[in-house]
Symmetry: C2
């Protein structure tokens, strides 16, 4: 079986020669090649220059035996395209200068085609595909409506999401109007990435675990569902639906949509899959901190995950969240090789 | 039924006249009375002066119709008693000056009786009991071994627990030795609080949701279990075992022990109880941010939780984590009254 097929076959729950593996944030600060570029360019410069974004995307593909590439981008540029100002402030992370607070703020947000607002990422996808030449598939991605709304309202990262949830509870019409716009923007952006050549898509609802299942159902699920429906309306690309802290609401994440459900490390993968049912594939779920452990511990933990779902097609190995800064590069290489060796057939 | 019985009867899964309610961090910065004291005293001064600690403990009991008091203290002073230095730094939270990194650091930790190291809290319990005169029961508490270990190793709050988990994976013998000492200190501290008059105990494993179920079982569960066994060895006080982010490992939390399992808002309470089984009581689980919502939304969400477990004895209403700063005091009062009115029998 060509390596190019392994990841996409697993997304469709078809048999594979070895379990495919890629790692969230596989292009990033733990790699010296990435840090060298970051000395010369800001994150947004890397994202908005298609040549640089393509180069960063390919760095981990050249360094490791990964089964998929993921386009180098960030979840927040779609907010810029809607009229919000985005900056990355050292130490503070992303900052939205004109955070949303009122009905008028939300009404002023524009919904424009991604070809106008996010063309740099679409162009980067085309460049990467030309470079990859079919060696491994390329994943496109977007932040999900809730995670984008939380940044847009809070103005940055948040511990308790008091401002975002307060809009949800106190101004529900404003909230629903915002989420509807975000669903359209996210859906169209994902669809455009598939049209530009991405062979799979991932919806990142990174902070959705801040919600109770009841609030997720009432205030979020319909919009993630809408975004996923739009994303998949133009093609047959598989979609991975990922969130952290979702152990208590996995069936709702599935109800919102996705061919593959991404799971963090706070639940046993086999137990998560049992809750989800056999009609979806799963992705996960090694604790990213395990990559700081000695190799035998890394291998033991990876083997536990792989063995727990052995013999059932449709597992994509990944971390439970993004690779952390300072992760030893040689451990990343060893993990990827171990996943293949441990699961290789015949 | 006297109000004094409601909470303890629910801990034992006996019928009650109305669902009992108390709120984690019910004495705190959202109350003007507390802020007034904090202008004159630091947190540690309030905790270490038994008269002041008793006064703070009683502030919410005087203001609201709560069914239990909880002694005003903090989870970290037991670390001071073992030889670590503890400070609360404005903006940064707790800081441990001499954080644990090596086998020698852990070997140097002392295990001394709580009557020597934490007598201020034991004395505060006696003072509060004299003041309460049996009106409502008093809960004693301690941080759990993992949560204390994470502060002791990281030196303060942490996002990813890389240093703590790295000790777990890379120096397992040092980790196990530390956890064993913490289990002894925590267990003895809880037992001493019961001996001083606390009629219930809560073990706070606030950050245990950072762990995978497999790591919880291997590195944490035996020590929470040991602490709980020591805590309950001298009396029949019910013990509440609470953590956040535990939706994926509730049966393991139960296996470690506790008469009542405290659940955060990231899972439906009825679903959590089903996983746990009918032989434990449950506590929870309103999202603390809901208290910022308009009253009808607060009541709707509280009713949803109460109705979902209606007719099954053994529910103690609480938030899914501590009350947040800036929570409107009148919403707290209204929530407590609503819980009683909505569930009152006859």
């Amino acid at each position: 079986m060509p390596q190019a097929d392994r990841f996409l076959r697993a997304c469709r729950r078809e048999a594979v020669d070895a379990t495919p593996v890629w790692l969230m944030r596989q292009a990033g600060r733990y790699m010296a090649e990435y840090r060298a570029l970051r000395e010369r360019y800001s994150i947004l410069e890397l994202i908005k220059n298609p040549d640089l974004a393509a180069e960063v995307t390919l760095q981990p593909i050249k360094a490791f035996n990964l089964d998929a590439a993921i386009i180098f981008a960030d979840i927040l540029p779609p907010l810029e395209g809607m009229g919000l100002s985005l900056e990355f402030v050292k130490g503070d992370g992303p900052v939205i200068g004109n955070a949303l607070r009122t009905a008028a703020d939300v009404a002023a947000l524009t919904v424009r085609p991604p070809e106008e607002t996010l063309s740099f990422t679409l162009e980067a996808i085309r460049l990467v595909q030309a470079e990859l030449g079919g060696r491994v598939p390329l994943i496109g991605f977007s932040g999900a409506p809730f995670t984008l709304a939380s940044y847009a309202i809070e103005g940055g990262s948040s511990r308790n999401y008091v401002i975002a949830k307060s809009m949800m509870y106190s101004q529900p019409q404003v909230w629903h109007s915002l989420m509807d716009k975000l669903a359209e923007v996210v859906g169209a952006y994902l669809r455009a990435q598939a049209a530009a050549g991405a062979q799979a898509l991932q919806l990142f609802d990174s902070w959705v675990g801040a919600l109770s299942p009841a609030d997720y159902r009432a205030y979020v699920l319909p919009y993630s569902k809408k975004a996923i429906e739009i994303a998949k309306s133009g093609s047959h690309v598989p979609l991975i639906h990922f969130g952290t802290g979702t152990s208590g609401m996995l069936p709702l994440i599935k109800e919102a949509g996705g061919d593959v459900i991404g799971v963090d490390w706070r639940i046993d993968l086999a137990a998560a899959w049992q809750q989800l049912g056999d009609d979806v594939a799963v992705q996960g779920n090694l604790d990213p901190v395990v990559l700081f452990a000695p190799l035998p511990e890394i291998q033991k933990q990876a083997a536990r995950i792989l063995d727990s779902v052995k013999g059932k097609p449709g597992h994509i190995f990944n971390l439970g969240h993004g690779i952390l800064q300072h992760t030893p590069v040689e451990h990343v290489a060893a993990l990827i090789d171990f996943v293949h060796e441990h699961t290789r057939k015949g």
